[in-house]
């Protein structure tokens, strides 16, 4: 633990380009920096982002006289690559997008804003050290694949082909899973028309002959500790348990069939000749269908679970119908369906089946008699049609994701965790929070009550403070909530693939497994280099805990959206798992004693920046602190600048990693330091949350909801602190909101503590 003392050697670089020097008094700024801000090394140039200017910074860094460059110029969102190459820490004071592009030139308030932005950036540097890797030791690069079905087999093979060692843990005594039993596959290859041969046997052979892959049968994961690069897993089977260390996990536990009550009414298991589509596969494999001349496939759509897998069921029905007609051209096959979902290129399969004489009938099955007369309420004809002489009725089954191990008892501790924190039928809100229709809220509440909670015990038995399960969405799918980032589970280094993630065909699962393996290998590499995974990929900083003033309040362990912080079972102190951590800083915002910090982002630093923003504020001028999410709100404000939208000159803006990292200390400091208003700008929270750190924005709102009392007891108006949700496309809206807030504060009057 040899910690070298970092010596701060700051230098300020004032860029006059892009019209900055025409709008600001650069020499006055320089005087302010060398004077009050106590940075003696100040340089000016017309372009520090390129050519000589950039060389100046580089050579200053190289000389050793400077290790922190504070560049006043464009937004920290631009010229990032250029400044990444200078060889030291770079801090940016946004003079362009959020100052000269939004403020009148050569104006007292504009100059004050620019000066304060510089002071805040210098303060940021003063309280910042270059982050260092949290270790340079060993990590595991062995991949654990849970599940030996087509997804798991593919994952193992692909990982092995990419150079990884793999262990497959399979719950049963053989490989292949459900897909291994299928007679034929839904076509995924051009021309997408004919059922394809089952690739599973060949895949199994490949895996069994692969020296990099070990298969453990009849085995489950009994316990998982650690994090990416260092998952300690205890595997368990009949002959005992065994610990091993893995770098990442691909969860490919697949699905199990679901038959709704309504389907049972069709007579599955009772009426002779009524079977599920899974039983049908067995019949197709065994060829036990010689006497079947008339066959009906029913695709019911009565519950979410059925509907969620309809894209699969519909294609399965086509495949089975085609198999029947191919085997015997005299067979008449009917498919009864509602909306037929052969989406994408599967339309070819659908059309091919139509060409081959399969009859598609849109409607609802009303009844099935004991002689298998199927009465269909045909939607197109508007008639109930009895169809008799049917030899076999095949009813689609739904797919229940195996996001738990149903062979195990449900644990009390994990119960809450299995409730999805996203309601898929929540009423549609706009970004502005206005609801389309009030009635929707009620229906949504109804729907929420019907949520199906997965049964069973945990798959990995994660020894995480936040529970043993991998978090799930509605109906138990262990999927990502993000459209852009389909593999982002809330457990770093654990990637789900295949039908446990969403209902998909076996062929689709192959592609999905490849994606998950890429992410797993990437996570192992990032862990190996002590870097953060998505979305702050490559970040070396990590939260450090000053345990001597920790009060063991557990807020950090409870609020971490990624379960990165555990509690020491003996001492109760928080224990951070750096490779699980995504560096959002939510723990930092949660900590009531502000003893959690990052080398380059910490409570004291931002608190000082807050203070710096109003240090030279004249007593008659308002000041508004804006703490803005750096992923969405801050870019939106930049874009307001790009659009040259005029903004209040009294805003002092500090980008934050996530609104979840905002601690009450900063708010308090702001009020003490004479800010008249505080605006927190975060992402959308709630069911359709858009926060990249899942809960950060919501947590911040929760925290700030308690500020009102404090304000009142300080004899201040509650309206002085506000939280708003800003989407990145809201460049115009964010300007309006801030300007309106400015007006509101003017009406309320200035902070009585101003000038202390």
């Amino acid at each position: 633990m040899s910690e070298e003392v970092f010596e701060h050697k700051p230098a300020a670089y004032l860029c006059g380009g892009c019209g900055i020097k025409d709008a600001l008094d650069m020499d006055a700024l320089e005087t302010a920096i060398t004077g009050g801000m106590m940075v003696s090394n100040v340089k000016q140039s017309d372009a520090f982002c390129s050519g000589k200017g950039l060389e100046t910074i580089k050579s200053d860094m190289k000389s050793g006289d400077v290790n922190q460059a504070i560049v006043a110029g464009c937004s920290p969102r631009v010229m990032v690559q250029e400044f990444n190459e200078v060889g030291g820490q770079v801090f940016r004071a946004n003079m362009r997008e959020q100052v000269i592009w939004q403020q009148p030139a050569n104006n007292e308030d504009t100059q004050a804003l620019a000066t304060d932005n510089m002071r805040m950036a210098i303060t940021q540097a003063r309280k910042s050290e270059p982050p260092q890797a949290h270790w340079d030791g060993a990590t595991s690069l062995k991949l654990l694949v849970v599940g030996g079905g087509i997804t798991g087999l593919t994952a193992a093979r692909e990982a092995s082909k990419t150079g990884a060692q793999v262990v497959i843990v399979e719950k049963t005594d053989k490989l292949g899973g459900w897909a291994g039993k299928w007679s034929k596959f839904i076509p995924e290859n051009a021309p997408y028309r004919e059922p394809e041969d089952n690739p599973v046997p060949a895949l199994i052979a490949e895996v069994e002959n692969d020296d990099n892959i070990t298969v453990l049968f009849d085995t489950i994961v009994d316990r998982t500790e650690g994090g990416p690069g260092e998952f300690s897993c205890r595997l368990k089977n009949g002959s005992g348990t065994n610990w091993d260390i893995y770098g990442a996990v691909v969860l490919a536990t697949g699905w199990r069939p679901y038959t709704s009550e309504d389907q049972k009414k069709f007579g599955i298991g009772e009426t002779d000749g009524v079977v599920t589509d899974i039983e049908m596969e067995e019949k197709l494999s065994s060829g036990d269908l010689k006497d079947v001349k008339n066959i009906i496939f029913i695709i019911p759509g009565d519950s979410d679970r059925m509907v969620y897998s309809s894209g699969v069921s519909d294609k399965v029905a086509i495949k089975q119908a085609l198999q029947m007609t191919q085997a015997d051209p005299d067979v008449m096959a009917y498919i009864i369906h509602e909306d037929f979902r052969s989406h994408g290129l599967a339309e070819e399969f659908y059309r091919h089946a139509q060409e081959k004489g399969v009859i598609f009938q849109r409607g609802e099955v009303k009844s099935i008699s004991s002689d298998r007369t199927v009465t269909v309420d045909d939607e197109l004809l508007g008639l109930e049609i009895p169809m008799s002489g049917i030899d076999l009725v095949v009813v689609s089954t739904g797919m229940v994701p195996n996001s738990t191990n149903i062979d195990l008892e449900a644990t009390e501790r994990g119960a809450d965790q299995l409730k999805s924190d996203i309601n898929p039928v929540a009423p549609i809100f706009t970004v502005n929070g206005t609801q389309v229709d009030e009635d929707l809220a009620e229906t949504a509440a109804d729907a929420e009550a019907e949520e199906t909670i997965p049964e069973g015990g945990p798959l990995l038995n994660l020894q995480y403070r936040q529970g043993p399960h991998v978090p799930v969405l509605a109906n138990g799918f262990a999927d990502s909530h993000y459209i852009c980032f389909p593999y982002e589970t809330r457990r770093s280094g654990i990637y789900t693939a295949g039908p446990v993630r969403r209902a998909m065909t076996a062929s689709e699962a192959i592609n999905d497994a490849q994606g998950a393996v890429l992410k797993a290998i990437q996570a192992m590499r990032q862990a190996n280099e002590a870097k953060a995974v998505h979305p702050r990929a490559g970040d070396l900083s990590f939260p450090e805990f000053g345990l001597d003033i920790c009060t063991k309040c557990r807020r950090c362990t409870v609020e971490c959206p990624f379960g990165a912080i555990d509690e020491d079972p003996e001492t109760d102190y928080p224990v951070v798992n750096p490779t699980r951590c995504r560096r959002c800083g939510t723990c930092m915002g949660a900590c009531p004693v502000s003893t959690i910090s990052f080398k380059n982002y910490n409570p004291a630093q931002v608190s000082d920046m807050v203070a710096a923003g109003t240090e030279e504020c004249p007593p008659d001028k308002p000041r508004i602190l804006v703490l803005a999410c750096e992923n969405d709100a801050y870019p939106a404000m930049d874009m307001a600048g790009i659009n040259r939208l005029e903004a209040s000159p009294y805003m002092r803006v500090i980008p934050v990693r996530c609104l979840g990292s905002v601690t009450l200390l900063w708010v308090k400091t702001a009020l003490e330091k004479g800010y008249d208003g505080i605006m927190l700008l975060g992402c959308k929270s709630g069911d359709d949350y858009q926060c990249h750190f899942v809960k950060g924005s919501g947590i911040a709102q929760e925290r700030m909801s308690k500020v009102g009392d404090t304000l009142r007891s300080m004899m201040m108006e509650e309206e002085r602190v506000q939280v708003n949700e800003i989407a990145i496309a809201d460049s115009e809206r964010v300007t309006q909101i801030l300007n309106n807030f400015g007006k509101q504060i003017e009406d309320i009057g200035l902070n009585p503590f101003k000038g202390f």
């Binding site: 892009c18 631009v78 990444n84 990590t139 690069l141 062995k142 990419t162 150079g163 051009a190 895996v207 002959n209 892959i213 298969v215 453990l216 049968f217 005992g240 348990t241 065994n242 610990w243 091993d244 989406h343 039928v425 229709d437 403070r465 509605a474 993000y482 459209i483 852009c484 980032f485 389909p486 969403r502 998909m504 490849q514 393996v517 890429l518 290998i521 192992m524 990929a537 000053g546 345990l547 001597d548 003033i549 009060t551 309040c553 362990t557 020491d568 009531p592 004693v593 003893t595 910090s597 874009m639 790009i642 009450l664 003490e672 858009q690 990145i728 496309a729 460049s731 809206r733 503590f753």
Partner: protein, 621 residues
Amino acid sequence: MQTPGFLGTFIKKSEDLNIRKFTDMKICAMSGGKNTKTDPLYNQSARYWVWQFEVWITMRMEAFCMAGDDDLEDEFAAFEREAKEAAAKAQEEMAKNAKKAEPAAEPVAASDEPEEEDEFAAFEREAREAAAAAASSMGGGASGGTSSATASSAPKADDKADEEEEDDTPVGVLSDAEKAERDAAQAAAVKTINKASKALFGATSQTILVVGGGIAGVTAAIEAAETGYDVILLEKNSYLGGRVTRLNRYFPKLCHPSCGLEINYQRIKNNRNLKVMTMTEVVGVSGAKGDYKVKIKTAPRFIDEGCNGCGSCSNAVETTVDNEYNYGMDQIKAVNLPHEHAFPMKYVMSPDVIGTDDADKIKEACTSGHVDLEATATDGDLSVGAIIWATGWTPYDSNKLEHYSYSHSADIINNVEMERLASPDGPTNGKILKPSDGKEPKRIAMIQCAGSRDINHLPYCSMICCLASLKHAAYVREQYPDAEVDIYYIDIRAHDKMSSFYERVKRDAKVNFIKSKPGHITIGADGRPLIHGENTIGDREIYDEAYDLVVLATGMEPSLPLETDFEAAPERDEYGFVINGSDSDNGQFAAGVAGGPFDVALSTQTATASALKAIQAVRGN
């Protein structure tokens, strides 16, 4: 008046702010409580907090003085006494904690250095042995080598009583025996894991080429680059983001695409393995996996790489050109930043300007000399090991749907234009207005399968159009509480969990679903589009309905032309979608809609998978 005393208020406030305990600690620090840690950060923060505390007290005293609280002095004395007690207690506890608090579990340290020679092979062997040993100790069917077990096989569990059920404590406590077992496994693992980076991230001199910088290409490129491989990303436009950057929001979350793109751009900016080339297209491919020669052509931007995005060039001219970003629905300056979220944030000039007076004005306006009027298209050659085609899609040409009269009315638009109308940075600043007269539409129709599922146009289903129309219905209903939306459809194809989104929209009584594929559209006497067709459900009513705005849900065509003169062209299906192929000699893969009609989630999924396939290819697998 029941004014709580100063101390009472103070403590209450402390609790409100959750600072009670930390103030104890601060007091402790103030009263000379010794900190055993030498952590500079701790000292810094402690000093800071002491100071904060002083400020707080001062402020409170001031407030009470102002309020004229006579008992202030007594209260303060009481406070001091309490504070001292608290300090003593805190100090005691701190001393206790200091003893207990150990640094967070250290990661397994790198053990004795292995010999230099044959490190790689040794690693592979050891890892295999370890895996085999682990397997055999489990009684599992280990495949592969049967080399003798190394020390890495952990002692077997005795299956005794300590096989306890998980307890309710947040972190299940292991028995000492179990801990020993785990620690032994960890220690044994160290040997096999430390050197692994060389096996898994083995150096390759080959580069991965990603063609197309939409969401799929950006995803494929950054995923491969973050896994440690060199990547070149080519984009035909002057900015990344492709089709999705022109969407207002994604279904089903109704979130803005620029949100995820911003994250991806940040990843790109901070990644040294990835090189982005804009305005560049592939004009030739030859060679084979591991050694493709790719000919590229870069169109002139007329503004060089040094552009800092200041905009003075754009301010210097008034001439405008069709705004491609908004599908030509409005005009943009002839030299422009294509849109507010354009990445890279660099200006681009229309070639039309060359030779006009504007050209000189523009050159003059750029005081830093980044305008190059002599720029011409440049050719280049790349040597790459694998190619990912992420060339995306083009909306099916609405003019080909003659029966839908797209060209006969400004109020018949297609779905990508609808996205621009609804976008805050679109031609109407996000307000959905009739293009003909700028008025608010009250009755809107969406026609599904406009071109898709039609053997005369696109035989396949484009997958996204149903969901896009549901989303458009939500856009309309958000802006106009009185507006009605009719959706004409064959099947609503809300695949897997998208069905929830369908359910959500269906609940809106003002969104109607009509199962019918309209026959044709005419223009009524009042200039409104009239949709004619037959309802296929129920009494098969023939309808002629007038609308203010008609949105054709047009499908997606692959952008990469089906016929190319590439020597080593990627394998394609009959529609031009790139086929990955199972041939092990293949080093060309598809990401996103280049490989099939996908929505964004599937595009990013396939893009992530393609990154893996490309990595395998450049590794020689």
